[in-house]
Subunit: 303 residues, 2 copies
Protein backbone atom coordinates (compact mmCIF):
# COMPACT_ATOMS: atom_id res chain seq x y z
CA UNK A 1 0.00 0.00 0.00
CA UNK A 2 1.25 3.49 -0.81
CA UNK A 3 0.59 6.03 1.94
CA UNK A 4 1.61 9.55 2.89
CA UNK A 5 3.55 10.21 6.08
CA UNK A 6 3.63 13.56 7.86
CA UNK A 7 6.03 14.43 10.66
CA UNK A 8 5.07 17.52 12.63
CA UNK A 9 7.96 18.98 14.63
CA UNK A 10 8.52 22.19 16.57
CA UNK A 11 10.60 23.72 13.76
CA UNK A 12 9.79 21.71 10.62
CA UNK A 13 7.08 19.77 8.88
CA UNK A 14 8.31 16.80 6.84
CA UNK A 15 6.17 14.78 4.44
CA UNK A 16 6.82 11.78 2.22
CA UNK A 17 5.02 9.36 -0.05
CA UNK A 18 6.09 5.90 1.10
CA UNK A 19 5.73 2.31 -0.12
CA UNK A 20 6.90 -0.51 2.18
CA UNK A 21 9.32 1.77 3.98
CA UNK A 22 10.72 3.25 0.79
CA UNK A 23 10.42 7.02 0.26
CA UNK A 24 9.07 7.76 -3.25
CA UNK A 25 8.88 11.55 -2.87
CA UNK A 26 9.39 14.04 -0.08
CA UNK A 27 8.74 17.64 0.93
CA UNK A 28 9.74 19.78 3.88
CA UNK A 29 8.90 23.22 5.22
CA UNK A 30 9.13 25.33 8.37
CA UNK A 31 6.44 24.91 11.04
CA UNK A 32 4.33 28.09 11.32
CA UNK A 33 4.67 29.64 14.78
CA UNK A 34 1.34 31.43 14.50
CA UNK A 35 -1.20 28.99 15.91
CA UNK A 36 -2.97 25.71 15.22
CA UNK A 37 -4.97 26.93 12.20
CA UNK A 38 -1.80 27.92 10.34
CA UNK A 39 -0.06 24.68 11.30
CA UNK A 40 -3.00 22.66 9.97
CA UNK A 41 -3.07 24.73 6.76
CA UNK A 42 0.65 24.12 6.27
CA UNK A 43 0.19 20.37 6.80
CA UNK A 44 -2.68 20.27 4.30
CA UNK A 45 -0.74 22.26 1.71
CA UNK A 46 2.37 20.07 2.07
CA UNK A 47 0.34 16.88 1.88
CA UNK A 48 -1.82 18.08 -1.03
CA UNK A 49 1.24 19.01 -3.12
CA UNK A 50 2.59 15.45 -2.77
CA UNK A 51 -0.81 13.79 -3.27
CA UNK A 52 -1.33 15.66 -6.53
CA UNK A 53 1.63 13.81 -8.01
CA UNK A 54 0.85 10.59 -6.13
CA UNK A 55 -2.91 10.12 -6.27
CA UNK A 56 -2.32 6.40 -5.64
CA UNK A 57 -1.73 7.10 -1.94
CA UNK A 58 -4.53 5.47 0.06
CA UNK A 59 -4.12 6.95 3.54
CA UNK A 60 -2.29 9.60 5.55
CA UNK A 61 -0.37 9.07 8.79
CA UNK A 62 0.78 11.92 10.96
CA UNK A 63 3.31 11.81 13.77
CA UNK A 64 2.86 14.51 16.42
CA UNK A 65 4.57 15.47 19.65
CA UNK A 66 2.70 15.97 22.89
CA UNK A 67 -0.05 14.02 24.58
CA UNK A 68 -2.59 12.96 21.97
CA UNK A 69 -6.25 12.15 22.26
CA UNK A 70 -6.41 9.13 19.95
CA UNK A 71 -10.13 8.60 20.34
CA UNK A 72 -10.98 12.13 19.24
CA UNK A 73 -8.00 12.49 16.86
CA UNK A 74 -6.71 15.60 18.59
CA UNK A 75 -3.42 16.97 19.87
CA UNK A 76 -4.06 17.76 23.55
CA UNK A 77 -1.12 20.13 23.60
CA UNK A 78 2.35 20.25 22.04
CA UNK A 79 4.74 22.17 24.29
CA UNK A 80 7.06 23.04 21.37
CA UNK A 81 4.41 24.26 18.91
CA UNK A 82 2.72 27.59 19.68
CA UNK A 83 -1.05 27.41 19.85
CA UNK A 84 -1.40 23.65 19.43
CA UNK A 85 -3.99 23.02 22.11
CA UNK A 86 -6.84 20.58 21.68
CA UNK A 87 -6.22 20.84 17.92
CA UNK A 88 -8.63 18.73 15.76
CA UNK A 89 -5.88 17.45 13.48
CA UNK A 90 -7.53 14.28 12.21
CA UNK A 91 -10.90 15.86 11.40
CA UNK A 92 -9.30 18.80 9.55
CA UNK A 93 -6.91 16.65 7.50
CA UNK A 94 -9.54 14.00 6.72
CA UNK A 95 -11.92 16.61 5.42
CA UNK A 96 -9.42 18.54 3.33
CA UNK A 97 -7.43 15.59 1.95
CA UNK A 98 -10.39 13.23 1.53
CA UNK A 99 -8.36 10.26 2.77
CA UNK A 100 -8.35 8.26 6.01
CA UNK A 101 -5.97 9.94 8.49
CA UNK A 102 -4.21 8.13 11.33
CA UNK A 103 -2.69 10.06 14.24
CA UNK A 104 0.40 8.74 16.01
CA UNK A 105 2.77 9.93 18.71
CA UNK A 106 6.04 11.10 17.07
CA UNK A 107 8.29 8.75 19.07
CA UNK A 108 5.95 5.86 18.24
CA UNK A 109 6.08 6.79 14.55
CA UNK A 110 9.88 6.97 14.40
CA UNK A 111 10.19 3.79 16.45
CA UNK A 112 7.69 1.96 14.29
CA UNK A 113 9.76 2.83 11.19
CA UNK A 114 12.83 1.30 12.87
CA UNK A 115 10.77 -1.71 13.95
CA UNK A 116 9.40 -2.44 10.49
CA UNK A 117 12.08 -1.12 8.12
CA UNK A 118 15.13 -0.11 10.15
CA UNK A 119 17.38 -1.47 12.89
CA UNK A 120 14.74 -3.89 14.28
CA UNK A 121 13.21 -5.09 11.01
CA UNK A 122 14.14 -8.74 11.78
CA UNK A 123 12.80 -8.68 15.36
CA UNK A 124 9.30 -9.83 16.41
CA UNK A 125 9.13 -7.22 19.17
CA UNK A 126 11.22 -4.15 19.88
CA UNK A 127 11.30 -1.09 22.09
CA UNK A 128 12.50 2.20 20.63
CA UNK A 129 14.34 4.42 23.09
CA UNK A 130 15.15 8.04 22.29
CA UNK A 131 18.12 9.15 24.34
CA UNK A 132 17.99 12.85 23.65
CA UNK A 133 17.27 16.05 25.58
CA UNK A 134 14.64 13.86 27.24
CA UNK A 135 14.01 10.10 27.16
CA UNK A 136 10.98 8.67 25.36
CA UNK A 137 10.08 5.61 23.39
CA UNK A 138 7.67 3.24 21.77
CA UNK A 139 6.75 -0.44 22.11
CA UNK A 140 6.14 -2.66 19.07
CA UNK A 141 4.91 -6.23 18.94
CA UNK A 142 4.46 -8.00 15.63
CA UNK A 143 3.26 -5.36 13.19
CA UNK A 144 1.46 -3.29 15.84
CA UNK A 145 2.22 -0.24 17.92
CA UNK A 146 1.35 -0.95 21.54
CA UNK A 147 -0.41 2.26 22.54
CA UNK A 148 -1.91 1.24 25.86
CA UNK A 149 -5.15 2.20 27.58
CA UNK A 150 -4.55 5.96 27.42
CA UNK A 151 -2.01 6.19 24.59
CA UNK A 152 0.76 6.40 27.17
CA UNK A 153 2.66 3.17 26.48
CA UNK A 154 6.30 3.91 25.76
CA UNK A 155 6.55 6.88 28.16
CA UNK A 156 9.52 5.01 29.53
CA UNK A 157 11.57 8.08 30.50
CA UNK A 158 9.10 8.67 33.32
CA UNK A 159 9.82 5.35 35.04
CA UNK A 160 11.10 5.88 38.57
CA UNK A 161 14.59 4.42 38.91
CA UNK A 162 15.73 6.18 42.09
CA UNK A 163 13.00 7.28 44.50
CA UNK A 164 14.25 10.47 46.14
CA UNK A 165 16.59 11.20 43.22
CA UNK A 166 16.77 14.45 41.24
CA UNK A 167 13.51 16.17 40.32
CA UNK A 168 12.70 16.22 36.60
CA UNK A 169 10.88 18.65 34.32
CA UNK A 170 7.55 17.15 35.35
CA UNK A 171 8.21 17.67 39.06
CA UNK A 172 8.71 13.94 39.54
CA UNK A 173 11.67 12.65 41.55
CA UNK A 174 14.17 10.07 40.33
CA UNK A 175 12.80 9.35 36.86
CA UNK A 176 15.04 7.76 34.23
CA UNK A 177 14.90 11.04 32.29
CA UNK A 178 15.96 13.12 35.30
CA UNK A 179 18.86 10.72 35.89
CA UNK A 180 20.19 10.01 32.40
CA UNK A 181 18.81 12.23 29.62
CA UNK A 182 21.10 14.63 27.77
CA UNK A 183 19.73 17.60 29.67
CA UNK A 184 20.23 15.89 33.03
CA UNK A 185 23.86 15.10 32.17
CA UNK A 186 24.37 18.76 31.25
CA UNK A 187 22.75 19.75 34.57
CA UNK A 188 25.18 17.56 36.52
CA UNK A 189 28.19 18.73 34.48
CA UNK A 190 27.26 22.40 34.97
CA UNK A 191 27.00 21.77 38.71
CA UNK A 192 30.29 19.91 38.92
CA UNK A 193 32.26 22.44 36.85
CA UNK A 194 30.43 25.50 38.23
CA UNK A 195 29.62 26.88 34.76
CA UNK A 196 27.36 25.98 31.86
CA UNK A 197 28.56 22.74 30.26
CA UNK A 198 26.74 21.18 27.29
CA UNK A 199 26.22 17.44 26.88
CA UNK A 200 28.61 17.56 23.91
CA UNK A 201 31.36 19.19 25.98
CA UNK A 202 30.75 16.74 28.82
CA UNK A 203 31.30 13.77 26.49
CA UNK A 204 34.42 15.44 25.07
CA UNK A 205 35.90 15.87 28.54
CA UNK A 206 34.94 12.31 29.50
CA UNK A 207 36.68 10.95 26.38
CA UNK A 208 39.75 12.99 27.32
CA UNK A 209 39.82 11.11 30.62
CA UNK A 210 38.46 13.77 32.98
CA UNK A 211 37.45 11.71 36.04
CA UNK A 212 34.51 13.91 37.04
CA UNK A 213 33.07 14.02 33.52
CA UNK A 214 33.50 10.26 33.26
CA UNK A 215 31.65 9.77 36.57
CA UNK A 216 28.65 11.67 35.20
CA UNK A 217 28.65 9.67 31.96
CA UNK A 218 29.03 6.38 33.84
CA UNK A 219 26.20 7.32 36.17
CA UNK A 220 23.85 8.12 33.26
CA UNK A 221 24.83 4.90 31.45
CA UNK A 222 24.19 2.98 34.69
CA UNK A 223 20.65 4.29 34.98
CA UNK A 224 19.96 3.74 31.29
CA UNK A 225 21.05 0.12 31.79
CA UNK A 226 18.69 -0.17 34.77
CA UNK A 227 15.84 1.36 32.74
CA UNK A 228 16.37 -1.03 29.84
CA UNK A 229 16.60 -4.01 32.22
CA UNK A 230 13.33 -2.97 33.86
CA UNK A 231 11.62 -2.98 30.46
CA UNK A 232 13.03 -6.48 29.86
CA UNK A 233 11.42 -7.63 33.10
CA UNK A 234 8.02 -6.32 32.03
CA UNK A 235 7.83 -7.35 28.37
CA UNK A 236 11.12 -9.11 27.47
CA UNK A 237 11.40 -7.53 23.99
CA UNK A 238 13.54 -9.14 21.31
CA UNK A 239 15.55 -5.95 21.13
CA UNK A 240 16.00 -2.24 21.75
CA UNK A 241 16.66 0.42 19.14
CA UNK A 242 18.42 3.48 20.53
CA UNK A 243 17.81 6.78 18.78
CA UNK A 244 18.30 10.47 19.58
CA UNK A 245 21.43 12.57 19.99
CA UNK A 246 23.00 10.63 22.86
CA UNK A 247 22.86 7.39 20.86
CA UNK A 248 25.01 9.17 18.24
CA UNK A 249 27.92 9.40 20.68
CA UNK A 250 28.94 5.91 19.55
CA UNK A 251 30.62 2.98 21.31
CA UNK A 252 32.14 5.21 24.01
CA UNK A 253 28.64 5.57 25.47
CA UNK A 254 26.84 2.53 24.07
CA UNK A 255 29.39 0.06 25.42
CA UNK A 256 28.81 1.52 28.89
CA UNK A 257 25.04 1.20 28.46
CA UNK A 258 25.39 -2.39 27.29
CA UNK A 259 27.54 -3.27 30.31
CA UNK A 260 25.08 -1.56 32.65
CA UNK A 261 22.15 -3.44 31.09
CA UNK A 262 23.98 -6.72 31.57
CA UNK A 263 24.77 -5.92 35.22
CA UNK A 264 21.13 -4.95 35.89
CA UNK A 265 19.88 -8.14 34.19
CA UNK A 266 21.67 -10.47 36.67
CA UNK A 267 21.95 -13.42 34.34
CA UNK A 268 18.83 -12.99 32.18
CA UNK A 269 19.31 -13.53 28.44
CA UNK A 270 20.26 -10.24 26.80
CA UNK A 271 18.08 -8.49 24.21
CA UNK A 272 19.54 -7.06 21.03
CA UNK A 273 20.81 -3.49 21.50
CA UNK A 274 21.01 -1.56 18.25
CA UNK A 275 21.34 2.02 17.02
CA UNK A 276 18.59 3.59 14.89
CA UNK A 277 19.29 3.43 11.15
CA UNK A 278 16.74 5.62 9.40
CA UNK A 279 17.84 9.06 10.64
CA UNK A 280 15.57 11.99 9.79
CA UNK A 281 13.35 9.84 7.56
CA UNK A 282 12.15 7.69 10.47
CA UNK A 283 9.30 10.07 11.33
CA UNK A 284 7.66 10.17 7.89
CA UNK A 285 8.30 6.50 7.11
CA UNK A 286 6.81 5.48 10.45
CA UNK A 287 3.76 7.74 10.11
CA UNK A 288 3.13 6.34 6.62
CA UNK A 289 3.58 2.76 7.86
CA UNK A 290 1.20 3.25 10.77
CA UNK A 291 -1.38 4.63 8.34
CA UNK A 292 -0.94 1.55 6.13
CA UNK A 293 -1.30 -0.98 8.94
CA UNK A 294 -4.14 0.84 10.70
CA UNK A 295 -6.25 1.28 7.59
CA UNK A 296 -5.59 -2.34 6.53
CA UNK A 297 -6.70 -3.78 9.89
CA UNK A 298 -9.06 -2.86 12.70
CA UNK A 299 -7.02 -1.04 15.35
CA UNK A 300 -6.57 -2.82 18.68
CA UNK A 301 -6.92 -0.06 21.25
CA UNK A 302 -4.92 -1.79 23.91
CA UNK A 303 -2.49 -3.69 21.74
Amino acid sequence: MITLGLDLGGTKIAAAVVRDGEVLARRRRATPQTGAADVIAALVETAAALLERHPEAEAVGIGCPGPLDFERGRVRFAPNIAGMEDAPLVAALTEQLALPVVLENDANAAGYAEHRYGAARDLVSSVYVTLSTGIGGGVFVGDRVLRGAHGLAGEIGHMTLLPGGPVGGDGHSGSWEALAAGRSMARDASYVFSREVSTAELFERARDGDAKALAIVDNAAHFTGVGLANIVKVIDPHGFVLGGGVSGVGPFYLDRVRAALERASHGYPQPELRVAELGDDAGVIGAAAVAAVETAAAPVTGG
Copy 2:
Protein backbone atom coordinates in the same frame (compact mmCIF):
# COMPACT_ATOMS: atom_id res chain seq x y z
CA MET B 1 -13.72 -25.38 22.92
CA ILE B 2 -13.43 -27.76 25.87
CA THR B 3 -9.89 -28.23 27.16
CA LEU B 4 -8.10 -29.72 30.14
CA GLY B 5 -6.09 -27.50 32.48
CA LEU B 6 -3.31 -28.78 34.72
CA ASP B 7 -1.71 -26.75 37.51
CA LEU B 8 1.57 -28.17 38.78
CA GLY B 9 2.56 -26.83 42.19
CA GLY B 10 5.21 -27.71 44.76
CA THR B 11 2.72 -29.53 46.97
CA LYS B 12 -0.30 -30.30 44.77
CA ILE B 13 -1.38 -31.08 41.24
CA ALA B 14 -4.77 -29.68 40.24
CA ALA B 15 -6.63 -30.55 37.06
CA ALA B 16 -9.94 -29.48 35.54
CA VAL B 17 -12.00 -29.85 32.41
CA VAL B 18 -12.97 -26.32 31.38
CA ARG B 19 -15.28 -24.68 28.85
CA ASP B 20 -15.09 -20.88 28.45
CA GLY B 21 -13.75 -20.41 31.95
CA GLU B 22 -16.29 -22.73 33.54
CA VAL B 23 -15.01 -25.77 35.42
CA LEU B 24 -16.95 -28.89 34.34
CA ALA B 25 -15.00 -31.40 36.44
CA ARG B 26 -11.93 -31.33 38.64
CA ARG B 27 -9.35 -33.51 40.34
CA ARG B 28 -6.53 -32.89 42.76
CA ARG B 29 -3.65 -34.85 44.26
CA ALA B 30 -0.34 -34.38 46.07
CA THR B 31 2.76 -33.66 43.98
CA PRO B 32 5.19 -36.62 44.19
CA GLN B 33 8.46 -35.57 45.79
CA THR B 34 10.42 -38.36 44.14
CA GLY B 35 11.60 -36.90 40.86
CA ALA B 36 10.45 -35.76 37.44
CA ALA B 37 9.38 -39.19 36.16
CA ASP B 38 6.95 -39.62 39.06
CA VAL B 39 5.63 -36.08 38.67
CA ILE B 40 4.98 -36.69 34.97
CA ALA B 41 3.29 -40.01 35.72
CA ALA B 42 1.05 -38.29 38.30
CA LEU B 43 0.12 -35.57 35.81
CA VAL B 44 -0.71 -38.14 33.13
CA GLU B 45 -2.78 -40.24 35.54
CA THR B 46 -4.74 -37.21 36.80
CA ALA B 47 -5.36 -35.93 33.28
CA ALA B 48 -6.28 -39.37 31.90
CA ALA B 49 -8.86 -39.96 34.63
CA LEU B 50 -10.64 -36.71 33.69
CA LEU B 51 -10.29 -37.25 29.93
CA GLU B 52 -11.88 -40.67 30.21
CA ARG B 53 -15.11 -39.02 31.32
CA HIS B 54 -14.60 -35.99 29.04
CA PRO B 55 -13.32 -37.31 25.72
CA GLU B 56 -14.58 -34.10 24.09
CA ALA B 57 -11.59 -32.18 25.45
CA GLU B 58 -9.45 -31.06 22.49
CA ALA B 59 -6.23 -29.91 24.11
CA VAL B 60 -4.29 -29.83 27.38
CA GLY B 61 -2.72 -26.79 29.01
CA ILE B 62 -0.27 -27.04 31.86
CA GLY B 63 0.87 -24.26 34.16
CA CYS B 64 4.31 -24.80 35.71
CA PRO B 65 6.57 -22.89 38.06
CA GLY B 66 10.17 -22.12 37.26
CA PRO B 67 11.90 -20.94 34.10
CA LEU B 68 10.44 -22.79 31.14
CA ASP B 69 11.89 -23.57 27.75
CA PHE B 70 8.85 -22.88 25.59
CA GLU B 71 10.52 -23.84 22.33
CA ARG B 72 11.48 -27.29 23.57
CA GLY B 73 8.45 -27.68 25.87
CA ARG B 74 10.57 -28.29 28.93
CA VAL B 75 10.76 -27.14 32.54
CA ARG B 76 14.33 -25.84 32.93
CA PHE B 77 14.10 -26.22 36.69
CA ALA B 78 11.44 -25.77 39.34
CA PRO B 79 13.03 -24.82 42.67
CA ASN B 80 10.06 -26.15 44.67
CA ILE B 81 9.72 -29.53 42.95
CA ALA B 82 12.42 -32.10 43.64
CA GLY B 83 14.10 -33.47 40.53
CA MET B 84 12.35 -31.23 37.99
CA GLU B 85 15.34 -30.31 35.88
CA ASP B 86 15.15 -30.06 32.11
CA ALA B 87 11.97 -32.17 32.30
CA PRO B 88 10.39 -32.93 28.88
CA LEU B 89 6.87 -32.21 30.06
CA VAL B 90 5.23 -31.42 26.73
CA ALA B 91 6.65 -34.42 24.85
CA ALA B 92 5.70 -36.86 27.61
CA LEU B 93 2.15 -35.55 28.03
CA THR B 94 1.52 -35.25 24.28
CA GLU B 95 2.60 -38.84 23.74
CA GLN B 96 0.66 -40.33 26.62
CA LEU B 97 -2.53 -38.25 26.32
CA ALA B 98 -2.60 -38.10 22.51
CA LEU B 99 -3.69 -34.43 22.56
CA PRO B 100 -1.91 -31.16 21.80
CA VAL B 101 -0.22 -29.91 24.99
CA VAL B 102 0.57 -26.25 25.70
CA LEU B 103 3.06 -25.27 28.39
CA GLU B 104 2.63 -22.04 30.34
CA ASN B 105 4.28 -20.32 33.27
CA ASP B 106 2.06 -20.73 36.37
CA ALA B 107 1.72 -16.99 37.05
CA ASN B 108 0.86 -16.41 33.38
CA ALA B 109 -1.78 -19.15 33.56
CA ALA B 110 -3.45 -17.76 36.71
CA GLY B 111 -3.25 -14.23 35.36
CA TYR B 112 -4.68 -15.25 32.01
CA ALA B 113 -7.67 -16.79 33.79
CA GLU B 114 -8.28 -13.47 35.58
CA HIS B 115 -7.78 -11.59 32.31
CA ARG B 116 -10.28 -13.66 30.35
CA TYR B 117 -12.78 -14.84 32.96
CA GLY B 118 -12.03 -13.11 36.26
CA ALA B 119 -11.36 -9.63 37.61
CA ALA B 120 -10.11 -8.23 34.25
CA ARG B 121 -12.58 -9.94 31.92
CA ASP B 122 -13.87 -6.55 30.64
CA LEU B 123 -10.38 -5.07 30.05
CA VAL B 124 -8.54 -5.11 26.71
CA SER B 125 -5.16 -5.40 28.43
CA SER B 126 -4.19 -6.27 31.98
CA VAL B 127 -1.19 -7.10 34.10
CA TYR B 128 -1.51 -9.74 36.79
CA VAL B 129 0.60 -9.11 39.88
CA THR B 130 1.12 -11.78 42.53
CA LEU B 131 1.95 -10.14 45.83
CA SER B 132 2.98 -13.18 47.79
CA THR B 133 6.17 -14.61 49.32
CA GLY B 134 7.72 -13.20 46.15
CA ILE B 135 6.37 -10.90 43.42
CA GLY B 136 5.61 -12.17 39.94
CA GLY B 137 3.15 -11.54 37.19
CA GLY B 138 1.89 -11.83 33.67
CA VAL B 139 1.05 -9.43 30.84
CA PHE B 140 -2.08 -9.90 28.67
CA VAL B 141 -3.13 -7.99 25.58
CA GLY B 142 -6.35 -8.86 23.78
CA ASP B 143 -6.70 -12.63 24.05
CA ARG B 144 -2.97 -13.28 24.15
CA VAL B 145 -0.33 -13.90 26.80
CA LEU B 146 2.66 -11.67 26.13
CA ARG B 147 5.54 -14.05 26.71
CA GLY B 148 8.43 -12.04 25.33
CA ALA B 149 11.58 -13.05 23.49
CA HIS B 150 12.77 -15.52 26.14
CA GLY B 151 9.51 -16.28 27.95
CA LEU B 152 10.50 -13.77 30.64
CA ALA B 153 7.79 -11.12 30.19
CA GLY B 154 5.97 -10.54 33.47
CA GLU B 155 9.03 -11.13 35.69
CA ILE B 156 8.09 -7.79 37.17
CA GLY B 157 9.25 -8.54 40.72
CA HIS B 158 12.82 -8.34 39.43
CA MET B 159 12.54 -4.72 38.29
CA THR B 160 15.05 -2.51 40.07
CA LEU B 161 13.23 0.15 42.08
CA LEU B 162 16.03 1.23 44.42
CA PRO B 163 19.59 0.73 43.17
CA GLY B 164 21.70 -0.02 46.24
CA GLY B 165 18.65 -1.26 48.15
CA PRO B 166 18.33 -4.63 49.94
CA VAL B 167 19.70 -7.72 48.20
CA GLY B 168 17.06 -10.23 47.12
CA GLY B 169 17.01 -14.02 46.80
CA ASP B 170 18.64 -13.77 43.38
CA GLY B 171 21.57 -11.71 44.67
CA HIS B 172 20.20 -8.59 42.97
CA SER B 173 20.02 -5.28 44.84
CA GLY B 174 16.89 -3.16 45.19
CA SER B 175 14.39 -5.23 43.25
CA TRP B 176 10.65 -4.72 43.79
CA GLU B 177 10.50 -8.19 45.34
CA ALA B 178 13.34 -7.48 47.77
CA LEU B 179 11.58 -4.25 48.79
CA ALA B 180 7.92 -5.21 49.01
CA ALA B 181 7.18 -8.96 48.84
CA GLY B 182 5.71 -10.76 51.84
CA ARG B 183 9.06 -12.33 52.70
CA SER B 184 10.83 -8.97 52.54
CA MET B 185 8.28 -7.40 54.89
CA ALA B 186 8.83 -10.29 57.31
CA ARG B 187 12.60 -9.73 56.99
CA ASP B 188 12.23 -6.07 57.91
CA ALA B 189 9.81 -6.82 60.76
CA SER B 190 12.11 -9.48 62.19
CA TYR B 191 14.98 -6.99 62.10
CA VAL B 192 12.96 -4.19 63.69
CA PHE B 193 11.52 -6.35 66.48
CA SER B 194 14.68 -8.46 66.96
CA ARG B 195 12.79 -11.76 66.69
CA GLU B 196 11.06 -13.75 63.98
CA VAL B 197 7.91 -11.91 62.85
CA SER B 198 5.65 -13.31 60.11
CA THR B 199 3.98 -11.15 57.47
CA ALA B 200 0.63 -11.96 59.10
CA GLU B 201 1.80 -10.76 62.51
CA LEU B 202 3.33 -7.65 60.94
CA PHE B 203 -0.01 -6.69 59.39
CA GLU B 204 -1.78 -7.39 62.69
CA ARG B 205 0.56 -5.06 64.55
CA ALA B 206 0.24 -2.41 61.84
CA ARG B 207 -3.56 -2.55 62.05
CA ASP B 208 -3.24 -2.15 65.83
CA GLY B 209 -1.41 1.11 65.20
CA ASP B 210 2.17 0.05 65.94
CA ALA B 211 4.21 2.84 64.32
CA LYS B 212 7.18 0.66 63.36
CA ALA B 213 4.99 -2.04 61.83
CA LEU B 214 3.06 0.62 59.96
CA ALA B 215 6.29 2.12 58.60
CA ILE B 216 7.26 -1.27 57.12
CA VAL B 217 3.82 -1.74 55.56
CA ASP B 218 3.81 1.82 54.18
CA ASN B 219 7.28 1.33 52.74
CA ALA B 220 6.27 -1.87 50.96
CA ALA B 221 3.07 -0.26 49.64
CA HIS B 222 5.15 2.70 48.42
CA PHE B 223 7.43 0.48 46.37
CA THR B 224 4.53 -1.56 45.04
CA GLY B 225 2.98 1.72 43.87
CA VAL B 226 6.25 2.66 42.18
CA GLY B 227 6.46 -0.78 40.53
CA LEU B 228 2.91 -0.55 39.19
CA ALA B 229 3.50 3.02 37.95
CA ASN B 230 6.64 1.88 36.14
CA ILE B 231 4.63 -0.79 34.33
CA VAL B 232 2.09 1.90 33.35
CA LYS B 233 4.91 3.91 31.79
CA VAL B 234 6.03 0.96 29.69
CA ILE B 235 2.74 -0.52 28.48
CA ASP B 236 -0.11 1.56 29.99
CA PRO B 237 -2.37 -1.45 30.70
CA HIS B 238 -6.10 -0.97 31.14
CA GLY B 239 -5.80 -2.49 34.58
CA PHE B 240 -3.95 -4.52 37.18
CA VAL B 241 -5.22 -7.63 38.93
CA LEU B 242 -3.58 -8.24 42.29
CA GLY B 243 -3.37 -11.83 43.48
CA GLY B 244 -1.41 -13.76 46.11
CA GLY B 245 -1.54 -13.69 49.90
CA VAL B 246 -0.71 -10.02 50.43
CA SER B 247 -3.59 -8.96 48.17
CA GLY B 248 -5.87 -10.84 50.59
CA VAL B 249 -5.07 -8.36 53.38
CA GLY B 250 -7.85 -6.15 52.02
CA PRO B 251 -8.35 -2.38 51.90
CA PHE B 252 -5.90 -1.75 54.76
CA TYR B 253 -3.09 -2.61 52.34
CA LEU B 254 -4.71 -2.05 48.95
CA ASP B 255 -5.73 1.53 49.74
CA ARG B 256 -2.09 2.27 50.55
CA VAL B 257 -0.97 0.68 47.29
CA ARG B 258 -3.54 2.68 45.33
CA ALA B 259 -2.39 5.95 46.93
CA ALA B 260 1.24 5.07 46.24
CA LEU B 261 0.46 4.27 42.60
CA GLU B 262 -1.28 7.60 42.23
CA ARG B 263 1.66 9.48 43.78
CA ALA B 264 4.12 7.69 41.51
CA SER B 265 1.99 8.41 38.43
CA HIS B 266 2.27 12.23 38.81
CA GLY B 267 -0.96 13.06 37.03
CA TYR B 268 -1.22 10.22 34.51
CA PRO B 269 -4.65 8.63 34.11
CA GLN B 270 -5.01 5.78 36.58
CA PRO B 271 -5.44 2.15 35.53
CA GLU B 272 -8.03 -0.10 37.14
CA LEU B 273 -6.70 -1.80 40.30
CA ARG B 274 -8.61 -4.95 41.17
CA VAL B 275 -8.25 -8.02 43.35
CA ALA B 276 -8.15 -11.51 41.80
CA GLU B 277 -11.53 -13.28 41.78
CA LEU B 278 -10.93 -16.88 40.79
CA GLY B 279 -9.00 -18.10 43.84
CA ASP B 280 -7.49 -21.57 43.62
CA ASP B 281 -9.22 -22.30 40.32
CA ALA B 282 -7.27 -19.61 38.45
CA GLY B 283 -4.36 -21.96 37.66
CA VAL B 284 -6.41 -24.70 35.99
CA ILE B 285 -8.83 -22.32 34.26
CA GLY B 286 -5.93 -20.30 32.87
CA ALA B 287 -3.97 -23.34 31.70
CA ALA B 288 -7.09 -24.66 29.96
CA ALA B 289 -7.77 -21.25 28.38
CA VAL B 290 -4.19 -20.90 27.12
CA ALA B 291 -4.49 -24.35 25.55
CA ALA B 292 -7.72 -23.30 23.84
CA VAL B 293 -6.37 -20.05 22.42
CA GLU B 294 -2.99 -21.48 21.41
CA THR B 295 -4.40 -24.48 19.60
CA ALA B 296 -7.02 -22.30 17.87
CA ALA B 297 -4.43 -19.80 16.54
CA ALA B 298 -0.78 -19.85 15.58
CA PRO B 299 1.20 -18.67 18.60
CA VAL B 300 2.99 -15.32 18.32
CA THR B 301 6.36 -15.92 19.91
CA GLY B 302 6.94 -12.36 20.92
CA GLY B 303 3.40 -11.26 21.46
